[in-house]
Symmetry: C2
Subunit: 371 residues, 2 copies
């Protein structure tokens, strides 16, 4: 029998900074590096849970902000929790709601106590704080819960960043003090903008609180991508070695390879699912827009190297036709392909690390992927 | 080995006018009564072919008008035909394009030669005639091909109807003369408006041409539903006994039961798929709008009697949430349920006829379904 405690994190292999590891959640082990498909509103857009599982998804992400507004965490709790609600019996990570409060809602007022905001749906007043965010995430029944943090807009001054990350630190302590759900793992979020010195200070603040995992937040806010790469490369190795490291909201295949190379373990991003719906598909030879006129009568699969259901059963011509016709099946087949690509990429990275050929595989990816 | 010729129609059992039968197509037998899900643009909206098959779909319908405009029948032909294009290796029926020319396109000019119209997509000029409609349907590779007919708007005068149905008769002869594809079965379409006398005349005209099947067209154009019921009841028994009888574009569960009772065998309708996307679901206790506020925290399946994937795995509350959130999965789960309902209804009608309990089953349905 598997006796490991929830939260156990085992490093299995290291190659430079890159790591293969596993994390025990209340609903089983996660093999890392791991990509978490985003299920914002209790569904990964267009996909059935069984399909996600078949593609190799180990864990999905749910959004606290969206689920709080609709249908509400109390409703989901009364219905048996988020896992049961969305028919996904495997691990779920919920974010804190912070990122969406700052990016989606209006008339946001930030105070030490928390954040007052108006719903982007109906303008209704809401309040999120470390305490309410934890309560919502516990009510949802998430296996991994993110501390409530402030996400600053980019660019911000050093003073703004310092003031904000100090509050994020105090909010983390309040988040931890509110956490009463034994089965859930609380992760803290390092902020600190895009300069190494401030990031390091935030890292020290956040890791001074003992937690089962730590994340880097505050990216994907419009900063130059090279800045993010550089900072992750500098900061990741300073994060606790024996805890999972989660890079929030990132990124492209190239971003993922570079971040794994820097020592990050966990990732989430709407990119594969969102761009799929816009007709952009990932292949080992780069991104492809399915709209291209040259595909009109192309009988080949999108990616002849790909073993996904879409590539095994449909031509580029059919995928183009579905997209041009605005058919729901276009979103489905494209999403299947892109998630298959991301999840396969993560698997291959993990295998390469475990089989002592990380550097070769990484270099292979770096010659093929461009941002 | 199954030696029956394509087009063979075997009556298996009759109960009053209701019939259980089977029709041999180039891609296997159809067990009737049969409902054909509508795959307008080479996809039944939101569904994979494997899912349709699992739900019990025997045959799907493709729309000549839409496929001619996009991606074009020549493209589909060069890609190996419609079956291969959409990954559906089972029978396909295509309509003639007539209905859409009259309902969707603009600046339509009807002449003896054919119909000139402008595409509803880009305003481009197109021409459909008995000859071009047959050529398109043959290029698509349909197993059942519909003759090109004129669909009059409702209401129309007797003179308009007479003139139109005479032309439909001449167009049928031209359709038949153009048909060179041995594997495809050509069905003629009876028009004649909503008066019995004219319908009977059209029926005589159309059935004077020897064909493997006959259809009733010109319904679902805005006429009072009782008129349609009455007319089908009067006309169906006059249609050739040993040929399949297809009621085009109809209808609700009640319509289907009444039409089977009148002696019709084949049906297609966008209703189960279209209303699914609008949140209306069919159950054995009537139609249900999934939006209803009372479902907000309802943990029950939509229909506790239903064995479909949706009802087996999701609550009313979740279905409502997906619909209110405009999620793709809402369309998928609702479509699965509605098609399961329609296909199960057809199966049960067939079984009831075969098992000598048609009248009981029909009456059971009539007490439960309302239009």
């Amino acid at each position: 029998m598997d006796q490991a405690l929830t939260g156990t994190f085992e490093l299995q292999k290291q190659a430079g900074q890159a790591r293969a590891a596993r994390l025990k959640t209340a609903r089983g082990w996660l093999q890392t590096p791991v990509f978490m498909p985003v299920g914002t509103k209790a569904t990964v857009k267009g996909m059935l849970p069984e399909e996600l599982r078949e593609l190799g998804a180990q864990i999905v992400l749910g959004n606290t902000y969206h689920l709080h507004l609709r249908p509400g965490e109390e409703t989901i709790q009364r219905l048996g929790g988020l896992h049961k609600f969305m028919n996904w019996p495997h691990p779920i990570l919920t974010d804190s709601g912070g990122f969406q409060v700052f990016s989606l809602s209006q008339l946001t007022k930030v105070k030490e106590e928390g954040v007052e905001f108006r719903s982007h749906l109906d303008g209704g007043k809401h309040f999120l704080s470390p305490e309410t965010s934890m309560q919502i995430q516990m009510a949802l029944g998430a296996d991994i819960i993110m501390a409530f943090d402030e996400c600053l807009k980019y660019p911000a001054t050093d003073d703004e960043i310092k003031t904000s990350m100090d509050m994020t630190h105090r909010w983390l302590i309040r988040s931890k003090n509110t956490m009463t759900r034994q089965e859930s793992l609380l992760f803290g979020i390092v902020q600190g903008g895009l300069e190494f010195a401030l990031r390091r200070t935030s890292l020290e603040q956040i890791t001074s609180v003992d937690l089962p995992g730590y994340a880097l937040g505050g990216f994907s806010v419009g900063e130059p991508i090279e800045l993010m790469h550089k900072l992750v490369q500098e900061v990741a190795p300073l994060m606790p070695q024996h805890k999972p490291r989660y890079l929030m909201g990132v990124g492209t295949p190239l971003d993922l390879v570079l971040a794994v190379d820097a020592g990050m373990d966990m990732f989430d991003c709407v990119m594969p699912t969102r761009v799929a719906r816009n007709g952009t598909l990932f292949t080992w030879h780069g991104r492809v827009s399915i709209k291209r006129t040259e595909f009109k009568e192309d009988a080949n699969p999108l990616d002849p190297e790909c073993s996904c259901y879409t590539c095994q059963n449909y031509s580029r011509a059919y995928l183009r036709h579905l997209f041009m016709s605005g058919e729901i099946l276009s979103a489905r087949l494209n999403t299947i392909h892109n998630l298959h690509f991301y999840l396969t990429l993560m698997n291959r990275m993990r295998e390469a690390i475990l089989e002592n050929r990380w550097e070769t595989f990484r270099n292979h990816c770096l010659t093929r992927f461009v941002n």
